[in-house]
């Protein structure tokens, strides 16, 4: 009954509106997807150009070039530049040819121009004799990215074989890469949520790394100094200590921002280094386990996050806690009054002020929560994976999370997806390094490019000729002063 009444009152849903949902999803996804794709293409270029075999073959072939070859090489360059020029401004050509250049037409023309240019350039290079160089480059990229995939998701044939045999050990080995990816994703979810929450309040929390360190320190301290507690008490206590430590590290820059207007970027950077030195001192002094190595003692067994499968699978409860935190952050940001205030302060501080919101309080709250989330990332690593704390244990989770929050568009669900992606990249990168001899650092380069493309959608739009969406871009932070 009610439904039919609603149908009477509400205007009928048009075909355009029904499409608009899919359109909206596509609009939300296309930019991150294209940014990732482009970043990987650039990464592939770097891999190919730094491959010894490729470089040798390139030098060898170039040495044997004859004048005709040089001529063709120049022709190739002309074709490449011309093709790019044409694909940048298809309207001019189309108008010359007598078409009224509509968006659709020029887009098709653009695609054809790009494909033709690529085919022509590759064809010319093969004719000149660079064919095997291209083949080598291609195989270098494929083997690198193949190893990356296999290291992160596992070998499909191995997985199928293990499933058919049902052997526990084979299963564990087959699913080990996936589980490692999930383990690596877990701190990313926490830290990514931390940075995203900051962004929502107009704060750029570069300090996630330091907050993560402090969180790890406090939670490992609670983990090893308390003994005899049941797990149900000890785990929340240790996790909470981590969150508290991180929150404290986020509070200081938040307080300074709110009270004296000191920019949080500088202060969080400074707090990062203070945290590094502090942990260095603690692990070399008060918190050092007897022995030569600067490592903390192991945490009590009751403080360890439970693992679900026997060794070597390290998949642990932290993953689900992280997902729970993502859901909580979503609820907090979009369904609670506090979250609404935080988002208002982030979107338009003046409006928030005139609506009577306490800006100082919201900034401090956002920084504390952000720090707490980052601290939980550290606690999670200590309680779920390492069981103790060594110097420089994090190796960049906090910094990567900036890229991640941008890729996830500062939305908790987006952050989870981006974190899963970054976790797989991280765990697969190790295999890529061992098998394909590609230093894992290429992933950092890819991440930097992802940030650049996500922050400057104009570049991606210019490359792929995408029309700007109606609503404006998200503003992340403001300038230095106040």
């Amino acid at each position: 009954m009610a439904e039919s009444v609603l149908k009477e009152i509400l205007p009928p849903i048009t075909e355009a509106q029904r499409r608009s949902l899919w359109r909206r999803i596509w609009e939300a996804v296309q930019l991150p997807a294209l940014a990732l794709f482009t970043a990987f293409v650039v990464g592939g270029l770097i891999i190919a150009l730094s491959d010894f075999k490729v470089l040798e073959a390139l030098a060898d072939t170039s040495r044997r070039l004859n004048p005709i070859g040089y001529g063709l090489l120049i022709l190739t360059a002309v074709v490449l530049v011309g093709g790019i020029a044409i694909s940048r401004r298809p309207e001019i050509i189309l108008n010359r040819l007598g078409f009224a250049a509509t968006g659709r037409q020029s887009r098709w023309f653009n695609l054809i121009a790009v494909v033709l240019t690529l085919v022509a350039v590759i064809g010319l290079l093969v004719i000149i004799g660079f064919g095997h160089v291209l083949a080598l480059a291609w195989s270098a990229v494929i083997s690198a990215y193949g190893a990356l995939l296999e290291g992160s998701l596992g070998n499909p044939a191995q997985i199928i074989a293990a499933l058919q045999s049902g052997d526990a050990r084979a299963l564990a080995l087959a699913f080990y890469p996936i589980s490692e990816s999930l383990v690596a994703s877990t701190p990313y979810i926490f830290a990514g949520l931390a940075v995203a929450l900051g962004f929502r309040c107009g704060l750029f929390n570069i300090g996630a790394e330091g907050q993560l360190f402090i969180g790890a320190l406090t939670s490992v301290f609670v983990g090893y100094s308390l003994t005899g507690l049941p797990a149900i008490v000890h785990i929340p206590l240790a996790l909470g200590a981590g969150a508290l430590g991180g929150a404290l590290w986020g509070f200081v820059p938040g307080f300074l921002k709110a009270r004296v207007g000191a920019h949080e970027v500088i202060n969080t950077i400074m707090m990062n280094y203070i945290a590094f030195r502090l942990s260095e001192w603690l692990l070399n002094g008060p918190m050092k386990r007897p022995g030569a190595v600067p490592v903390s003692p192991f945490i009590a067994e009751a403080a360890q996050l439970p693992r679900f499968f026997p060794d070597p699978i390290r998949f642990h409860l932290g993953f689900f806690i992280a997902l729970g935190m993502a859901a909580f952050v979503w609820w907090f940001l979009f369904k609670s009054r506090w979250g609404f205030e935080i988002r208002t302060v982030g979107a338009n501080p003046n409006a928030a002020r005139y609506a009577g919101m306490n800006i100082a309080f919201n900034i401090i709250l956002a920084m504390c929560l952000s720090g707490a989330l980052a601290g939980m990332a550290g606690a999670n690593e200590v309680l779920g994976v390492n069981y103790n704390l060594a110097n420089a244990f994090s190796s960049g989770y906090g910094f990567d999370s900036i890229a991640l929050a941008l890729l996830g568009r500062s939305h908790p669900f987006g952050v989870v997806l981006a974190a899963l992606l970054f976790g797989t990249l991280r765990s697969g990168g190790t295999r890529m390094q061992n098998v394909a001899q590609i230093p894992i650092d290429i992933i950092i380069v890819v991440q930097a490019l992802v940030i650049a493309f996500m922050a400057a959608p104009g570049i991606i739009r210019a490359i792929y000729r995408i029309v700007k969406p109606r609503e404006g871009e998200v503003v992340f932070t403001r300038g230095w002063g106040r």
Binding site: F204, M270, P439
Partner: protein, 431 residues
Amino acid sequence: MAATTLPTTTPRYTQAQLAAMAERRRHRIIGILMVLLGFAGFALFAVNADPAAVSTFGLNTGRTAAFRLGDLVVPTQATVIVLSSLCLFIGGYQFIRGFGKSTNAIFGLIILFFIASFLVWATGDKSINLAAMINSTLLRAVPLTLGALSGVMSERAGVVNIAIEGMMLSGALVATIAGSVTGSLWVGVAAAVLTGVLLSLFHGVLSIRYKVDQIISGTVINIFSVGITSFISAKFLSEFPQLNNPGTFRSEPIPVLSAIPLIGPILFDNNFFTYAMFVLLIVIHIALFYTRWGLRTRAVGEHPKAADTLGINVFRTRYTAVLLSGALAGFAGAYFTLGSVGRFDEGMTAGRGFIALAAMIFGNWTPFGAFGAALIFGFADSLQSRLAILNVPIPSQFLLMAPYIATMIALAGLIGRTTPPAADGKPYEKQ
């Protein structure tokens, strides 16, 4: 954030009165700090000093060609007491009467006294080479100053540059490779400068053309630099060590000046980078504050709209400043490989770009202020490496934290307000 409260009633004081009150409060706080430093000097150093001990300071660097000086020997406890009392008296005067405009200079002096009394106490019954220590302070301040100059350059034009760290790291790597391949250190320096310029061009295009948040665009460069330098280092430098052996600039004593006792070996017996730093300091100071170009650059950083109205090309001015900033940062990067150790190691800048940024803030966005801050930070660094010899019960990590904590205090406006260029960090939208 002073403007958080709504202006509901008519204000009781005028803006000028409020500013004067804030200034008086600031002077009081500084006075209290000075007195506290004096008390700290008594409590920490004078009480713990052995009355019979003497502190010995060497005044000659090892390789000096200058006229050699005898060691400076002072009674430990007496000196500490004198220095701490000075802190107390000057601080008391500051609290009651105030030094007015020279407050900051006096405060610097007091900090110097405090550091001196710490040193005298720490060297009780031991000896330390003061000249060598000052020299190493200066050396450690060189990359910080160059990096800070890079920051001053771009931020004065209104573009935040937190990518100093990344530009230095890339510059260091490229300098070592170019220097090793060509066998010429000068080519290495030029290549490093060029690298900085390229990265800053990227920064400029992102932040000026695409109006990306300048902090994010700087972060991109930092992360990218870490990735690409580690990648190249792991892929090529470990495979071909001959690519990572450019040699270093030797120290070139300036003929007459280096023979002056004490300051000769400290100031005039250094390598190319130190001299270049002094020249750049003076050149940039004059260029920014005494030329038409500098006035325009600063105008663009303070009020781009007004500058635009007066016919200054905001975008071009900003690009110029950002590219110069990149060149400076790249040059600073070359110091790490060509000016000091002569090889590249992964992550070798180790956060010095951020300390340079801190020095720039501490120095209130001026070249000489940044140099002063860089000297303080360089001193903390150089002291930290000598703590083990002095056997002082302070963990070296705390001294390494000092620059960061000092910057946060400075930024909090506790000791005088730092005033960034008004339009710093704001993309300019031409109407």
